[in-house]
């Protein structure tokens, strides 16, 4: 029971509930189910990306290229939509997923086969992918009127009371939760990050597991790329600029240890929701949106402090203090 109360998911849920209650004390409309559903919908892209990032961080890596992958995939499907407006949306989504996966595989291969530190690889691919968007689009924007109506309508299409964007996020959450807790691949992600040396002796290929983590992160970023451009009905070089930091922030707030091996899908989702509630609450309580950056920065620092308190290893005793002579 005590352990349950101390778990990150419970503390975060309580913090989010407190936050919502505090806001609704002054602005009761904020707690209306329709508004909360709206906040969830608005946070969906962040949740999907945070789950991908969580898997990468679990394996002791980091993926700074997610936002660039999202933007590149978004641009490709938008251009594709101009070239072939009648392409079925299922095919578009498949292309977004696979292109994202391929871009993730590039990261994964560089980390696995060439053993280059993940932060260097994804820093490099981040700038390269952004540059490629400029090359394929000539720096032009794809605007709303150039996209086909069906292409734009999909994330807003309401199914059982919720927009499809929310359903996509829910599907990713459920699938990820099952994969991470019920499959060998999911457990391998934890094992590889928790103790790489022991994983090798148990027959796990550390590099290959990291490769799959990057592939999944890329595929989810690709999916989000389509959802993003269709929701905002615009694609250009800088969409989701700097979003990779929000994604990492969501993971850190969600209790995912940057040292690898510790974290859960629930944590990543709650971390994203925490940031989402703050972002949506600021305009409501009449605080300038310019405060958002400083607030999320403070939230990250507090979260890291809490994480380290929870996961701190006990110090080691080299020499026992000698007994005082009698």
């Amino acid at each position: 029971m005590n352990r349950y109360l101390q778990s990150r998911e419970v503390i975060l849920s309580a913090a989010i509930l407190m936050l919502i209650l505090l806001i609704s004390l002054r602005f009761p409309a904020f707690i209306a189910p329709a508004n909360l559903a709206n906040v969830f919908n608005d946070t969906s892209p962040l949740m999907i990306l945070a789950i991908g990032q969580m898997i990468v961080i679990l394996t002791k890596c980091i993926d700074l290229s997610v936002a660039a992958t999202l933007a590149l995939t978004g641009m490709v499907v938008s251009l594709l939509n101009i070239a072939a407006p009648d392409l079925p949306l299922v095919v578009t989504i498949m292309i977004a997923l696979s292109l994202g996966a391929v871009l993730g595989m590039v990261n994964g291969l560089l980390v696995w086969k060439l053993n280059i530190p993940p932060i260097v690889v994804t820093l490099g691919t981040m700038t390269i992918y952004r540059g490629v968007i400029f090359l394929i689009s000539n720096g032009k924007w794809v605007n709303a009127h150039e996209m086909s109506p069906a292409f734009k309508a999909l994330p807003r299409h309401v199914f059982l009371g919720f927009p499809l964007l929310s359903w996509f996020a829910l599907a990713v959450i459920v699938i990820a939760a099952v994969v991470m807790t019920r499959t060998t691949l999911g457990r391998a992600f934890y094992a590889v990050g928790g103790n790489p040396h022991a994983s090798v002796y148990t027959g796990l290929n550390v590099g290959r597991t990291q490769f799959w983590a990057f592939t999944i992160s890329g595929a989810l970023a690709g999916l989000t790329g389509y959802l993003w451009v269709s929701r905002y009905a615009v694609a250009y070089v800088d969409i989701a600029g700097g979003f990779e930091l929000d994604v990492v922030a969501a993971c850190v707030i969600g209790g995912i240890s940057i040292a690898g091996g510790i974290g859960s899908v629930g944590g990543a989702v709650l971390g994203a929701l925490f940031l989402g509630v703050i972002k949506n609450a600021l305009p409501v309580i009449n605080i300038s949106p310019f405060w958002q950056l400083a607030i999320s920065g403070t939230a990250i620092i507090i979260a890291v402090v809490l994480n380290s308190r929870a996961n701190r290893p006990p110090g080691r005793i080299i020499l026992k203090q000698s007994e005082p002579a009698a």
């Binding site: 720096g139 940057i258 920065g297």
Partner: protein, 327 residues
């Protein structure tokens, strides 16, 4: 011969061979190649004033990169440097509005840098937190404060004497920034390669636990390195603000990535333990030359970033691919 056989050579490589085969020599060759290519590609390249202008592409970033190199060699990283630049610039802008003199502005810029560096250092060394996450947090926090202060407005109206730091020339085409860059390169080179402190930085990066048990004050060395990085971000902020003559909260956005790229390109191991200041100096010139040369050829900035990104991965990947191919 079975693959498990290992040999110990009768003679170690002579110092000359080692120097010829070093990373710095490779970088220097790349720099010379780019310089030669640029000279042939554009008739405007070999012009003293153009080349002098080109140095502004890297001097400010390189100042931060020197301190960042030491920090990365010691096994830590500071991703908040660009935000420190923004916060220091905002503080200087606010002071300029109430008529502070250039000297006061410089003191304010450097002090804000030191305070930010101390804040990062305290969180990492006293609280024992991972620097990559802490500085992602302070990166949002520091720039966030600039946004709270400035919103969508900007500070201008810096005193005339303040222009010197970013726009002044010491002699002929030699700008103040270039002199500062050279002096700081020398200072950091001496600090890292010729002092006990520098040896401690390498030792800590290679094995922090062993360093602690050998009596090195690991926490204090790391704290000083964060202070130095903050201070250098403050120096860069003074130069950049003086050069632009105005402060927006987005000033220097994304600079941290270019600084880290410069350090890694310079042969510093991102995992800590090895790297040199001469390497970083040459890497700074390479990045400046690439940006400037492509600019003369009318290549847009975003395409240059592809080249920089490819350089970053390429310089690390190629030697490893070569080693794999050689078996």
């Amino acid at each position: 011969m079975s693959p498990t056989d290992r040999f110990i050579p009768d003679r170690l490589q002579s110092p000359l061979t080692r120097r010829v085969k070093s990373w710095e020599t490779l970088l220097l060759a790349v720099a010379v190649a780019i310089f030669t290519f640029n000279a042939f590609a554009s008739p405007y390249f070999l012009n003293a004033w153009n080349l002098s202008d080109a140095t502004f592409n890297f001097t400010e970033k390189a100042m931060i990169a020197f301190a960042m190199a030491l920090l990365i060699i010691a096994g830590e990283i500071d991703l908040s440097v660009a935000s420190i630049v923004a916060l220091a610039s905002t503080a200087m802008g606010a002071a300029a509005q109430i008529g502070a003199s250039p000297a006061v502005l410089v003191v304010i810029g450097l002090t804000v840098g030191l305070i930010c560096g101390a804040f990062n250092g305290l969180l990492v060394t006293v609280m024992g937190l991972p620097s990559i996450v802490v500085t992602i947090g302070t990166m949002s926090l520091f720039r966030g404060i600039s946004y709270i202060v400035l919103g969508d407005t900007a500070y201008g109206g810096y005193p005339a004497g303040f222009k010197f730091f970013g726009q002044g020339y010491v002699w002929w085409v030699i700008s103040f920034e270039l002199v500062a860059f050279a002096v700081l390169a020398l200072a950091f080179g001496v600090l890292l390669h010729l002092t006990n402190f520098g040896r401690a930085v390498y030792a800590i990066g290679n094995n922090p636990v062993a360093s602690l048990f050998s009596g090195l004050r690991v926490g204090r060395v790391k704290f000083i390195l964060f202070l130095l990085t903050g201070l250098m971000a403050g120096v860069a902020s003074v130069c950049l603000t003086s050069r632009l003559g105005s402060t927006r909260p987005s000033i220097g956005f994304g600079m941290e990535l270019e600084v880290v790229t410069m350090v890694v390109l310079g042969g510093v191991n991102i995992l800590g333990g090895s790297g040199t200041i001469p390497g970083v100096v040459i890497a700074a010139f390479i990045m400046g030359l690439v940006t400037f040369g492509l600019g003369l050829l009318n290549v847009p900035g975003i395409v240059m970033s592809i080249v920089i990104g490819a350089l970053l991965i390429g310089v690390i990947a190629l030697p490893r691919l070569w080693a794999m191919w050689r078996g």
